[in-house]
Symmetry: C2
Amino acid sequence: MKHALLVGTDVVDEKSIRTLSKYSKVYKLVDLTEDRLDEVLPSVDCLVVFSWPRQLTSERLQQMTGLRFIQSILAGVNHVPFATLSKDVVVSSNAGAYSAEVAEYAWALLLSAAKRVVELHVALREQRWNLKRTLDEGSEITVLREKIVGILGYGGIGSVVGRIAPGFGMQVYAYSRRKSAAKGVKFFTGTNGLTELLKKSNAVVIALPLTSETARIMNAERLSKMKKDGILVNVARGELVDEKAVYEHLVANPNFRYATDVWWYRESRESLQTDYPLLSLPNFIGTPHVSGPSGLATGRPVQLAVENTIRYLRGLRPRNIVNPEEYKTSYPY
Amino acid sequence: MKHALLVGTDVVDEKSIRTLSKYSKVYKLVDLTEDRLDEVLPSVDCLVVFSWPRQLTSERLQQMTGLRFIQSILAGVNHVPFATLSKDVVVSSNAGAYSAEVAEYAWALLLSAAKRVVELHVALREQRWNLKRTLDEGSEITVLREKIVGILGYGGIGSVVGRIAPGFGMQVYAYSRRKSAAKGVKFFTGTNGLTELLKKSNAVVIALPLTSETARIMNAERLSKMKKDGILVNVARGELVDEKAVYEHLVANPNFRYATDVWWYRESRESLQTDYPLLSLPNFIGTPHVSGPSGLATGRPVQLAVENTIRYLRGLRPRNIVNPEEYKTSYPY
């Protein structure tokens, strides 16, 4: 058998491991001692990871001289250490594998923010509300009908977010790298296009990959382009938004809302620790990156990653190959 | 001028009052002293109310011998004291006036419950979460795609709730009094039909009017028909659900969720006070009846109520006339 595959995560089920074994020798990282790992590394040509395994330090990566293909089970590949990677290595994302679940989550956050569900529930629980206030402040609820949802990144997740919008009577604006087309969607490209979308949208959903170009794309200047009572939703990566800028923007604009399922990095890994007390603000909603795991539970992301890995093992061109040039900078950006 | 109209609420704007004045003498309840009110009551043939005015006691209602038409600005008419009302009086609801806003709110509650947004946000805020738990418990997030949403009542609000479902890849089941038809919707009628819908639906949205027949329709037996990890959403009236039954059901079934914007009655009026500590449960979401006021803020409900009142004043048949037989019992049901 000419291939040697290292599975660097325990999210791949046994049935999938057996399927992969038909095409390659398969090692599971969890089964290998440190010494055995060092022994097999030079022979490994194919690597399947969820997030990047801590054991695969840059020293060990340099021993992997035979490595040719990396498949990510996470949708994004920003966790892959491109800077230490040989140019011969092809990296595939798992784009689209979580689209339905993450798009549903984006709408959950958008609607929770628009309808102030978290804030009002907490106010009731703390007995800080009465029905008189409801009548006085009912107008603070954002009605979505006939409003505009702007979507940053119109790939797997973004396009599913967009397809839900017409049911709510909302128009879809989309920001994408290339001029694209989809029924009922108005596309914007380039820096000026992004600014125009931010100015006109009532709610903005971030569904971009985290690359050198997109890191901190929502900085203080771009936040200031959004409507004062706008809603920003992030289901992609925390690092796409500047933490200090969004905290200060929320404090200065109490009707602006930021709802996120994804968090900033500490030591190259996502962390629930923040530098600013976002969770103390009534106009912030945070959930602990559960949208992806809810997709993982369906089995689909592992299935798609395994199918794509088999394409490589059979000598076919894998799908979702990323451009390493877009990942040349990494945390802390 | 042959008509005398009493506006029993301050939600009708001055422009609407001027429009109504073209067709009728108009009295505003807020402008009348108690004595003056007693003086004009016998001449009033037309009454426009939001919720039922406290001044219009059953004694005063009996003095309103000329009353022929009541227009509600609230969508529902369960607040109208039908038992004290002469059979000559025609009552119109404001059905459909809040459909878009209340349907949006229903989806906000459904998604908040499915994605555990409130529970997870509070857990983060209280530092009771870490990303390890996310991976372990990600499967506790309900994915809506390819699931069934059951809608109780397929009128103004219910049908808008239904039209949003296909965007999420959900199938729509609807319970209605009469066998009806709508594209892609499976209809259920009668007690057995309701049971079947409850058994098969993953989420159920209550969008029924509160009548003698529908009060406490979601009792202990019907709740027990729902899936153990089902979601119940109420944007109609609190009294459609039995409070004790839903509290006990939530305690016994931690994966079941009840999300409501509407509350039970105390002394014939909605109250945020509950008999059971629902707000202490992680699988309960409550908001203080804000969906209606968010609709009211658009101006549409007042506009529609005024248009319908003008139909009466011009001698045309008003729309949305309700059947008083359906309201023969009232709180406490």
